[in-house]
């Protein structure tokens, strides 16, 4: 019953959030990027009639409310219009980029969790102190480092693409962010009274330190899982910094090119996708903790 109530609240919140993010993304993209074709007819680089025809074709001249309704309908039917920069339907393009981003981030988050768990079990609290110092460093700082490595070693090309070497570089950019943030939150969790008692009991029965730390991770699995989800949401948000640096043609890269080269339809579509995922991850993080944590579970 409690799970059902949580699920209903989650869906209601998701729908409200999605409505806000969808409307906001379209209005912001249209208002901030305007109609990039409007100026072309005036400068003579494009016949005025052709500019008008293109404006009509790309739906950039219609009033904001009409365009918004068309965009909302397009999101449901899978046709939000054409991308001005890439001259292809924006929705499949955005979905493709988004899938590439999720794929790389999934690898990165998994690698980060594995890295943290392995190092923590092997090295203990010394690692937490060292790793938590890095917890505020965002992914694009590591990505800049990878970019320098790419230029100096030729390990991978900096041209846009989604090759294996780029996916690995992206995952290696995300992994330290996840590992250090998990170290930060674990350092706080192990200071709790519950954790101290757990360690004392483990020491009293002669359990190996590594086994005690495995037990501690299991005790705090719920908050760690919730924190991993919010970190994944943060990484997704930072994809707009990381992907242009790595030349990784995911959602962040597409959004950057859409904004910098003036493509309102593509920008609004990707913004909506990123916002929807972000809402889902944050809401899931809030739902996961009470469902998994036995202290918060009700009969």
């Amino acid at each position: 019953m409690r799970a059902l109530r949580i699920a209903v609240a989650l869906v209601a919140r998701l729908l409200a959030g999605l409505a806000v993010v969808t409307v906001a993304s379209y209005i912001l993209a249209r208002v901030s990027l305007g109609n990039p074709l409007a100026g072309l007819g005036l400068t003579g680089s494009l016949p005025e009639k052709a500019a008008e025809e293109l404006t009509r074709l790309y739906g950039l001249g219609e009033p904001l409310p009409v365009g918004l309704v068309r965009f909302l309908h397009g999101l449901l039917t899978g046709d939000t219009g054409y991308s001005l920069v890439y001259s292809t339907p924006a929705y499949p393009l955005a979905l493709e980029g988004y899938a590439y981003t999720l794929y790389a981030l999934l690898l990165g988050v998994s690698a980060g969790v594995a890295l943290f768990a392995t190092l923590y079990v092997a090295l203990g609290d010394r690692l937490l102190d060292a790793l938590r110092l890095l917890s505020f460093i965002p992914g694009f700082i590591y990505a800049t480092g990878w970019l320098l490595v790419a230029w100096y070693t030729g390990l991978y090309t900096t041209l846009p693409g989604t090759g294996v070497s780029k996916i690995v570089a992206y995952a290696l950019t995300a992994a330290p962010v996840v590992a250090s943030r998990l170290a930060h939150v674990t350092a706080e969790l192990v200071e709790s009274e519950e954790s101290r008692l757990y360690v004392l009991r483990g020491e009293a029965i002669g359990a190996a330190p590594g086994r005690v730390r495995v037990g501690l991770l299991r005790v705090h699995a719920a908050p760690l899982a919730a924190y991993t989800l919010t970190t994944a949401s943060l990484l997704l948000e930072h994809s707009v910094f990381v992907e242009p640096l790595l030349g990784y043609a995911g959602a962040g890269y597409l959004l950057y090119t859409a904004v910098s080269r003036g493509d309102p339809v593509l920008a609004a579509t990707i913004f909506t996708l990123l916002g929807a995922t972000s809402f889902t991850l944050v809401a899931l993080a809030e739902a996961v903790e009470p469902l998994l944590d036995p202290r918060l579970r009700r009969p």
């Binding site: 959030g17 912001l28 901030s32 990027l33 694009f140 970019l147 707009v240 990707i270 913004f271």
Partner: protein, 256 residues
């Protein structure tokens, strides 16, 4: 450690304020480091140490405004403990705005307005604090249920007094923690947006130094380019860390 960070931050602020008034010396573009130009010259020929110093100021501005915006939002969130209307408003605002991808939003906003460093910092601080608002409100409400606060309310103490004298002093650790995180996030976001060329191009910034190096063909492969890129990255991380450590120190000192 934190006191040292505060002193360093103050010294950095004084230095960059002084450096911002000095005109940078120009020489051949991408000259290697030398006695006269310790970090060499940038792709435009300006002394890199000079542009780096000016870039510090932009990062400091972003950090300060980010911290100020975050502190204001968090203190406002703590009023949830004394006002039901404020509590509902915070729940609603954070619930709706929590999932909005902030960086993508700033990118779109940067097309609408030419964002200066302090404006980018202000926006990031506001959004970062909004994410933490519910935690702060929850903590403030838990303090409000403690006997000493209920006793103060029973004696007829006004809500403002309860908030200022009983609740805020007892949540200062949470305020410090989230404010420091928001300040660090503001420093990083300002650098990231500048690196992508999405902030005011006339304002020097640590991110803009990287943008110039990454967008000038071959620049990063020179000794000067590599040294400047490394110095810029190290500076961004250092400024963010200095903010984080000093705010924690300052607010803990106030608490004592």
């Amino acid at each position: 450690m934190r006191r040292a960070a505060l002193l360093l931050l103050a010294a950095l602020l004084a230095y960059t304020l002084a450096a911002s008034r000095v005109e940078c010396v120009y020489a051949a573009p991408l000259s290697p480091p030398s006695l006269y130009h310790p970090l060499g010259t940038d792709p435009l020929g300006a002394d890199a140490l000079c542009t780096l110093s000016k870039g510090f100021l932009a990062s400091l501005e972003a950090g300060f405004t980010g911290a100020a915006a975050a502190l204001l939002v968090l203190v406002a969130a703590s009023t949830a403990s004394v006002s039901i209307a404020a509590d509902r408003l915070i729940t609603l605002a954070s619930g709706v705005l929590l999932g909005i991808p902030g960086i993508a939003l700033f990118m779109l906003l940067s097309m609408l307005f030419t964002l200066e460093s302090w404006q980018a910092g202000l926006l990031v601080g506001f959004f970062a604090a909004l994410q933490a608002a519910r935690s702060v409100a929850a903590r403030a409400k838990s303090v409000a249920r403690k006997p000493f606060v209920e006793a103060a309310a029973a004696t007829g103490a006004p809500r403002t007094r309860i908030l200022l004298h009983h609740i805020l002093p007892n949540i200062v650790d949470v305020l410090a923690s989230y404010t420091s995180m928001a300040a660090a996030a503001a420093v990083y976001a300002e650098a990231g947006l500048s690196m992508l060329g999405l902030t005011d191009p006339s304002t020097p910034s640590l991110g803009r130094i990287l943008n110039l190096l990454l967008n000038t063909p071959g620049a990063i492969l020179t000794t000067a380019g590599l040294v400047q890129a490394a110095a810029s990255i190290a500076s961004i991380v250092a400024v963010a860390y200095l903010f984080h450590a000093s705010i924690l120190y300052l607010l803990e000192a106030i608490r004592v």
